[in-house]
């Protein structure tokens, strides 16, 4: 009888083993396909966005979340080859930054210091030395700071060129030789598939500098070797360079995706600070009585007289009296306005005496208040209220009693120059793609949606507004930008990678899985720094 129970136990055990649940169609690598694409050698071309730059630097940790690296992980499922990125092994403490000959030339990555609720560089000293890179071509050829024409420039990776500004410290670290070009190193990987997201810096550096550079669409200067760092690249030059890059990339039959350039108006660097940031909170720490006293004094001593005089010269609309009940705009210098310096000095002399009147004339000759048409740079926030050099005490507060400078604000004419260049570049990008039958990832469209909240397929809404987190943490996990206000955070890069995957899936009839965006890290918040 005992035997029977043993038989029963054996049968039960067999039953158990056969009880493994099985899907009719198991999800595995075989569920996916590369379609018409061949990912065996994938190379990414681009700038900081491609390098995995975030929080104002490339760090070892951040680089792992570059969108090319995230793409390569999915490509691997369908036959993608090894994907290498420039070595940041020397960033042992994951601080980012750069040193040149031991001197810090770029600060550490930004974190939010919760004790002050503001972004600041993480404590520590960078250990990434420009002269101590690992040389040789890599699959991720994203070079932070590169403009379109830099990809073709020999010597862009020469250590000797860093100080004069003809070379790029990041490319110096991995260029295969001092005379190598970015594109040449990329081609040495014999790409079968590429992504190309170059061009943002051709206009972005002008924008982030507050428009202090020169717009070469206006000057007609076609020689990029003469351009300053903050200039706008001539669109015809851009189109020629872009076509040359794409022709080279496709010369051996590679397929790929090109990405459009995002509008600056979509990124938090330009959208975080409102044009009218002067409020009872920012000016008087929430004390309404003190605020009213301050505003009334400003109106009596400065804004009133200024408006009166300007009105006499037909420019009264440059200044409005400040309000005690609503948010007030900033004082700025608009270099496109007629300079009323002499008229102001003369008119104010009876009131203030010649010396002060001359200072006022100098300061307010082209002054006006900001309007909703102006963009205040993120980097301008800490400047507001600080003292310009060599000005009288009465007018020693930037933005409040003294006009902010050209490099603090984007005014409408500068915005127009940027928008025109951006759309001309994007037209060139789309046209080059059409010629070669390449897929286009419209990053411009994606980033634009972020400004008003981007609802992803998984149901989560994301915004560009993370500074709201001061006081509330609602937005801690729903912001896609890193703390520099220009570059995405890991979660943002995952969104971009997914957009590119969707384009590949539809254009090349591939079937690749997307990343779960919600599982990626956002910004770093430290209790103290």
């Amino acid at each position: 009888m005992k035997n029977k129970f043993i038989y029963f136990a054996v049968i039960a055990a067999l039953g158990l083993a056969s009880c493994e649940p099985e899907f009719e169609t198991e999800v595995s690598d075989a569920s996916y396909s590369s379609g018409e694409a061949d990912f065996s050698s994938y190379v990414a071309i681009g700038n900081s966005l491609t390098a995995g730059f975030m929080d104002n630097t490339v760090s070892r940790g951040g680089q792992a979340y570059s969108y090319p690296n995230l793409l390569a992980k999915q490509f691997k499922i369908v036959g993608g080859g090894e994907f290498t990125q420039p070595s940041f092994a020397d960033d042992v403490n994951n601080l980012g930054g750069l040193t040149l000959g031991g001197q810090v030339i770029r600060g550490t990555r930004l974190v939010i210091d919760y004790s002050v609720k503001l972004p600041e560089p993480i404590a520590g000293t960078p250990t990434i030395e420009v002269s101590a890179g690992v040389h040789g071509a890599v699959n991720n050829m994203g070079v932070p700071g590169a403009k379109s024409f830099h990809l073709l420039a020999p010597g862009y990776g020469s250590l000797d060129g860093v100080v004069p500004g003809t070379a790029n410290p990041y490319f110096v670290r991995h260029a295969s030789s001092p005379t190598a070009t970015v594109l040449g190193d990329a081609m040495s990987k014999k790409p079968t598939f590429f992504t190309n997201w170059i061009g943002s810096n051709d206009v972005l550096s002008y924008a982030t500098s507050g428009g202090v550079g020169v717009d070469h669409n206006a000057t007609g200067n076609m020689d990029p070797s003469t351009y300053g760092g903050n200039d706008i690249t001539n669109a015809t030059v851009f189109g020629g360079v872009y076509t040359q890059i794409v022709n080279t990339l496709t010369s051996a039959g590679a397929k790929g995706v090109v990405c459009t350039i995002p509008s600056v108006t979509a990124i938090p660097f330009f959208t975080t600070i409102p044009y009218n940031p002067l409020t009872v909170v920012t000016v008087a720490g929430g004390n309404q009585a003190a605020y009213e006293a301050t505003i009334n004094a400003l109106n009596t001593q400065l804004y009133g007289p200024l408006k009166q005089v300007l009105t006499a010269f037909g420019a009264g609309n440059r200044i409005k009296l400040l309000s005690t009940t609503s948010a007030n705009p900033l004082l700025i210098k608009d270099e496109t306005l007629p300079d009323l310096k002499d008229q102001l000095t003369a008119a104010l002399t009876p009131m203030f005496g010649p010396e002060v009147a001359a200072d006022f004339g100098e300061a307010f000759g082209q002054a006006r208040q900001t309007t909703a048409q102006d963009l205040v740079l993120l980097t301008t926030r800490p400047v507001i209220g600080t003292a310009p050099e060599d000005v009288p005490a009465l007018i020693n507060k930037y933005g409040i009693t003294y006009p902010l400078e050209d490099n603090h604000i984007l005014i409408p004419s500068e915005k127009t120059a940027i928008a025109d260049a951006t759309s001309a570049y994007n037209a060139a990008i789309k046209s080059a793609a059409a010629t070669k039958g390449l897929a286009v990832a419209d990053m411009n469209a994606v980033m634009n949606k972020l400004a008003n909240g981007l609802r992803l397929d998984d149901g989560q809404i994301y915004t560009a507004d993370y500074f709201t987190l001061a006081g509330s943490l609602n937005n801690y996990s729903t912001v896609l930008f890193s703390l520099d206000g220009v570059h995405p955070n890991p979660r943002g890069y995952a969104v971009l990678a997914n957009e590119i995957i969707k384009v590949i899936n539809s254009h090349y009839k591939a079937k690749l899985p997307i990343h779960e965006v919600g599982g990626f890290p956002g910004i770093t918040i430290l209790g103290s720094n």
Binding site: F23, S31, N475, P521, L526
Partner: protein, 422 residues
């Protein structure tokens, strides 16, 4: 952040794959082998669970049945959009102890200890659905003193109070991405022990003729009220540690009422068939609300369970004096409505196949064995009620983030027991 805490907690409930919801239908070896029928079957002291009135019709003065099962439940999960695969393997050990005593011709008494609800599911830590559940372990032991009155040879009633001792442990991550400074995912563990509650069971049995029995049994809803359970927040980044301090919590979990009606027929002296119908009042489980005794927001997790029907059929055949063989089948409906399929209770409708035998060692002592195989079709399902709130241009906007994919479960459970009577 409010949703950081969607502590689906206790879900307490939940889990696994036994039968619908967190009901575990394994309350006796003989009856399990017959498709877990029994409201109108008088086989052994197991009838204390199925219908307390039935002890009046047991032939012997004293009857006892003790048994236990090994419950193996496995669920696989996959999602093609994200190339996710995962699975969870769990084992449970439900048991039952029954004893009845015939005090006189018309009065019998008994005691039953059994575990009709419970659930343990453990997914890989930080798996794709970890914002809903990493691990849950729900236990409830029912202790039911019982009396039965035989009104006449054709009719008896019975019932008794039920005292429940329960515990629950639950762990989930706070959301889909939050980590501490070292990159460890932030999670919360809820732990409530020694939860006590009262309920009752009552039934009647009617024998209209020698070949037939009819039975009806009702077991009341019992709310497990967890009070003062420990909530521990782990791997919290420094900037949130003040808010997410360890605390206590309160939560209620209903163990739903169940109404059973059925009949058994003796087709011959040796051959019986039985039919049971269960109606389980799962609609008591509207949501799982966890109140924390600190500033962490109350977590409300919709469940919206639906009442369910279970249809059972079983048969037994006394082949010899020594051997009795049994078999059964049932169809078990899941209480989970579309869009509420959470991975802590990954279960859809199922079909149960049962079998077993008794070996009678002597007149008084028998050994029972049973097995259960539960078949689940694979199902594409999601939980669509996980929410996070975001400020968009100053306005709070709620995002509902579904979590789902394809699930496929199997459950297998061998069991053994002994029956003693004199």
């Amino acid at each position: 952040m409010r949703k950081l805490l969607s502590l689906t907690l206790l879900a307490l409930a939940s889990t696994s794959v036994f039968a619908g919801g967190y009901r575990v239908s394994l309350q006796g070896q003989k009856q399990l082998a017959m498709g877990h029928t029994g409201v109108a079957v008088v086989n052994s002291a197991e009838v204390l669970f199925f219908n307390p009135a039935g002890i009046s019709f047991l032939e012997d003065k004293f009857n006892a049945s003790i048994g236990g099962n090994l419950l193996f439940a496995e669920t696989k999960f996959q999602n093609e959009t994200y190339n996710w695969q995962n699975s969870t393997d769990n084992m449970g050990t439900p048991f039952s102890i029954y004893a009845s005593y015939k005090i006189n011709k018309w009065l019998s008494a008994g005691i039953a200890v059994y575990t009709p609800y419970g659930s343990e599911v453990e997914w890989d830590r930080d798996w794709q659905g970890s914002h809903l559940v990493n691990r849950i372990d729900l236990k409830a032991i029912y202790i039911q003193p019982t009396v039965s009155f035989k009104v006449n040879d054709a009719f008896a009633i019975g019932g008794g109070p039920i005292y429940v001792i329960g515990s629950v442990e639950f762990n989930k991550n706070l959301n889909r991405s939050l980590t501490d400074e070292s990159g460890n995912r932030s999670d919360v563990s809820l732990d409530a022990n020694g939860i006590n509650a009262w309920g009752y069971a009552a039934g009647f049995m009617l024998n209209p003729c020698k070949e037939m029995r009819l039975g009806v049994n009702y077991r009341s809803e019992i709310i497990m009220e967890a009070r003062g359970g420990m909530a521990a927040f782990n791997e919290i980044p420094v900037f949130l540690q003040e808010k997410f301090s360890n605390t206590t919590f309160s939560a209620d979990l209903p163990l739903p009422a169940e109404l059973t009606a059925g009949l058994s027929l003796n087709l011959t002296d040796k051959w019986m068939i039985a039919f049971d119908y269960n109606r389980t009042m799962w609609s008591a489980y509207k949501d799982l609300t966890i109140d924390f005794d600190n500033s962490v927001e109350t977590s409300v997790n919709p469940r919206n369970y639906q009442n369910t029907n279970t249809y059972r059929v079983g048969t037994q055949y006394e082949a010899t004096d020594k051997f009795t063989f049994r078999a059964g089948w049932y169809k078990d409906e899941s209480p989970i409505a579309s869009g509420y399929f959470a991975p802590e209770t990954p279960r859809n409708d199922s079909m149960g196949y049962t079998g077993g035998l008794t070996y009678q060692i002597n007149k008084n002592l028998g050994v029972d064995a049973s097995f259960l195989y539960l078949h689940f079709d694979e199902i594409d399902a999601s939980y669509d009620h996980y929410q996070e709130t975001t400020l968009v241009n100053g306005q709070a906007v709620t995002s509902t983030i579904p979590f789902g994919g394809t699930y496929k479960s199997t459950v297998f459970s061998p069991g053994v027991g002994v029956t003693y009577s004199f």
